[in-house]
């Protein structure tokens, strides 16, 4: 079957005109949008843009705001192009319907990512398409929030164009009423003005007329130097309701007559439920039903704690098969073996690995562990199955994808499924499509108690032990230095459980490079974790380049700058961070300063970390000075918050984070054995922007990748101990020894 969008996407060469044509709705679709998502007095003028009689502009956004502030920033982009009164701008979540699918997201990647081709879908989108449909068209029908894509794709290719088109339609409607040429009209604070005659209309008076015009396929976009809303720090829309407890997250859903469910999933991934005896909980208050699923047992009760306590009393028997013998040690051995015998070349520059011959080779092997997402709100979903239809409520990173996944779990056509996308207590990749085990269990539970709504909540233990983990990865480097101690050869072999990782490609100008990946799949489910591949390759690359600088007896900043001579944005970002951090100034004994720079999701982030190492080997991160080039920040204070959050997320993982496998199952269960960053770990953070004319970059993720290497490079500077295996905390005695030896 050939669809219109496949035809459009076939002609990528002529993309920009077609993109606009695709992005904007003809007036026939506007009527459907009004029926679905406009309240009394509101009209859709173009896709994503509703205008009310009272001039209120509502931006209907095909994303969820996980707390990154994208609803506010995308509304700034819309308000800017509309010339709307910022005080009358709101945002709401688009319905989980294909009418509101986020075409611009897919288009953004096609236009913006040179690496895209059918077998190389961005990692955060891989779960959206089945393997047999790994084509570009396959991820057009989605509403994914991930990949730090909302601003740089949805905003740039969708919402701002829709808003600019809507502005032109409002002008056309006013001009027609006045019988004047549209060019003689202007727009300001939600009004269309005809200055020659002194007449004006509010947007609300024009919306219905405007909606009857077809949108221009080439609306005029405002030049950056005329921005008055984009680029200004504004207060986020969602915050007032997040300080008084009134934001209702997925876990807060209350439906009349609702039951609650607790689950015990096979501890060994892929294990099956053989049997479960319900006798231990018979007669307990409030218990409705014990449901046997393929790999889990679910207890349904009138209250959650009754379900949870009862589930804990059961002794389900699971088949572990051969997987019950898998441990972190056996997995590590497989990774090590794969680096020797399963490599496939991904990139060769110059003479590649051949250039190592007869050179003095510097070699180092790095590792990172599995990590859980540990969102504050444990996975949960509420569902009711009645009269052949399914209704589901949950906080996820893809409304439309969730609806499709629920339909698949239920064996129903998608038209029989309603999905309500609710705010979520943290996503970080955990709630992306492909990782919807909580929806699947909730749907199957609801279908076992037809006619009654049921809310399934994972305990923290189930959440942590049935995640889709940041992969554990091994990476081996071999390098040789040439003239002036600069790297002449860079050979990197790493393991992957998916496609080769574009993030393994380096920024640095090194004449000979060979980068190869070895596929190692285990039974441990993995998935995108805030910053995805950059979370490991950032650590590997920025650590090893630091090793080379040390071997060359060079300053780590100066060494990197030499290798970035042809990348002025990167060099300027690095110099900005170094200058603001006082790079080169001496530090007291026991303290160290480290640097790392990573570009990810089209933003360049450089961190300079200062650490203090105690005699017992514990490491305190005192300060992180960060420089960011994301083109320009739409909401600078919001961008700052994202970089801060990225630093804390990366810092906690670097210091403490490790999920291990024992007897085929996750050994950690809750925060006591999976520590995360707390206030006491929080360094002083300074963030500086290097504004450039580059296309807008992402915000949610790019703060994470340089964090771990900036810290470990600082530990090296303080102690001479090179951490090649995270987390840092397991090397305390080594660090203590280094701290003592360096006295």
């Amino acid at each position: 079957m050939t669809t219109r969008r496949m035809v459009i996407l076939g002609g990528l060469g002529a993309a920009s005109a077609l993109v606009v044509g695709y992005a904007l709705w003809p007036s026939t679709r506007i009527a459907r949008a009004d029926a679905m998502a406009a309240r009394a007095g509101e009209r859709f003028v173009s896709n994503w843009i509703k205008i009310g009689r009272d001039d209120t502009v509502t931006v209907v956004i095909p994303h969820c705001d996980m707390g990154t502030g994208i609803f506010t920033s995308l509304s700034q982009m819309a308000a800017e192009e509309l010339d709307a009164d910022w005080n009358k701008v709101r945002a709401e979540t688009a319905p989980a319907d294909s009418l509101f699918a986020n075409g611009p997201l897919g288009e953004g990647f096609i236009l913006g990512e040179k690496d895209i081709y059918p077998n190389n879908i961005p990692a955060f989108l891989r779960g959206t398409v089945a393997n047999s449909f790994r084509t570009i068209a396959g991820f057009m029908d989605l509403q994914v929030t991930g990949g730090s894509s909302a601003i740089r794709a949805t905003g740039v290719f969708g919402i701002r164009i829709a808003a600019a088109a809507a502005r032109e339609m409002l002008v056309a409607a006013a001009a027609a009423r006045w019988n004047v040429a549209p060019e003689t009209c202007s727009t300001r604070v939600s009004r269309v003005l005809h200055e020659a005659s002194g007449r004006s209309f509010g947007f609300g008076e024009l919306a219905a007329d405007a909606a009857r015009h077809d949108p221009s396929s080439h609306p005029r976009l405002k030049p950056k130097d005329q921005y008055t809303i984009v680029g200004k720090s504004v207060l986020r829309f969602d915050i007032p309701r997040k300080v008084d407890g009134t934001t209702a997250y997925g876990i807060d859903v209350r439906e009349p007559g609702m039951l609650f469910a607790a689950i015990r999933i096979s501890p060994v991934f892929g294990g099956n439920l053989r049997s479960v005896d319900a006798a231990p909980i018979s007669g307990r208050r409030g218990i409705h039903k014990v449901i046997k699923l393929d790999d889990a047992v679910v207890v349904v009760a009138d209250r959650f704690w009754r379900a949870r306590d009862a589930a804990a009393l059961l002794n389900p028997i699971f088949d572990d098969g051969v997987l019950g013998g898998v441990t972190s040690t056996t997995i590590a051995a497989r990774r090590k073996a794969a680096l020797d015998d399963a490599l496939k070349s991904d990139l060769t520059v110059g003479s590649g690995a051949d250039a190592l011959k007869s050179q003095k080779v510097i070699e180092a092997t790095y590792q990172v562990p599995y990590l859980a997402h540990a969102t504050m709100e444990p996975m949960n979903a509420t569902a009711i199955y009645r009269n052949g239809s399914l209704e589901v409520w949950s906080g996820t990173q893809d409304g439309l994808g969730s609806r499709a996944a629920c339909a698949k779990s239920a064996g129903l056509p998608i038209e029989k499924v309603t999905f309500h996308l609710l705010p979520m207590g943290g996503g970080f990749g955990r709630r992306l499509p492909g990782f919807f085990n909580f929806l699947d269990y909730a749907v199957k539970t609801a279908m076992a108690v037809p006619g009654t709504p049921v809310k399934l909540v994972f305990t923290r233990e189930q959440d942590m032990q049935h995640d889709f983990y940041r992969p554990n990865v091994m990476s081996r480097f071999r390098a040789a230095l040439g003239a002036g101690g600069m790297p002449a050869v860079w050979v990197n072999d790493y393991t992957t459980d998916d496609d080769p990782n574009p993030e393994a490609h380096i920024l640095y100008a090194i004449p000979n490079q060979a980068i190869s990946a070895a596929l190692v799949r285990t039974h441990v489910p993995t998935g995108p974790w805030r910053s995805v591949e950059a979370s490991w390759h950032g650590f590997f690359i920025e650590s090893f380049i630091d090793e080379l600088a040390h071997r060359a007896k060079a300053d780590p900043v100066a060494y990197r700058l030499k290798l970035l001579a042809d990348k002025p944005r990167h060099a300027a970002t690095l110099e900005l961070a170094a200058r603001k951090a006082g790079w080169g100034a001496p530090l007291a004994h026991g303290r160290g300063r480290g640097v790392a720079i990573v570009e990810s999701f089209k933003s360049i982030v450089c961190h300079v970390a200062d650490v203090t190492v105690a005699a017992n080997g514990s490491v305190k991160i005192d300060r992180v000075v960060s420089a960011v080039d994301c083109g320009m920040a739409v909401n600078p204070d919001g961008m700052r918050a994202q970089i801060e959050g990225g630093i804390l997320f990366g810092l906690g993982a670097a210091q403490y984070g490790e999920i291990t496998i024992d007897k085929g199952a996750v050994a950690q269960a809750n925060f006591p054995d999976y520590p995360v960053a707390r206030l006491a770990d929080c360094p002083d953070i300074e963030i500086h922007f290097h504004d450039s004319d580059a296309p807008l970059g992402g915000g949610g993720e790019p703060g994470v990748p340089p964090t771990a290497p900036a810290i470990t490079n600082a530990i090296f500077a303080a102690t001479g101990v090179r951490i090649r295996d995270l987390p840092i905390i397991k090397h305390a005695s080594l660090i203590a020894h280094g701290a003592t030896a360096s006295l």
Binding site: G69, M424, A641, G645
Partner: protein
Amino acid sequence: MTIRLNVNGATREIDVEPDAPLLWVLRDELGLTGTKFGCGVAQCGACTVHLNGEAKRSCVIPVGAVADMQIVTIEGLSAHGPTPVQKAWVEHQVPQCGYCQSGMIMAVSALLAKNPSPTDEELKTEITNICRCGTYPRIRAAVRALAAAKALP
């Protein structure tokens, strides 16, 4: 059995086992869902409420043990409009996903009630709630601002 609770200044009678966790009684019996479930083992602080003015983690407290106490949840904290802590949270744009913030605000409010000008060191020791979005720098900035304001005559 019937348990009588004083929640946000009102008396509520609930037919519930005395060992039911206070968190779930607040959420599922009383519909006060501003108090959040995070870990169930008093580690993360998302379920923090005030018991006689003290910040306590309600997920491990049996409801039978609090029958004589004044229980205040996030809903009760701001019953008469936003408190200075909540205003500071908006001013400093603290929340991201916001899920931990009810507990965070309850913990900080209790701390400031007994120590209006905590030092950074006291804050580190006293506020051990988990925020996965990493809002700690702004929490610290907001508390510093509140502490400075209190220090003025």
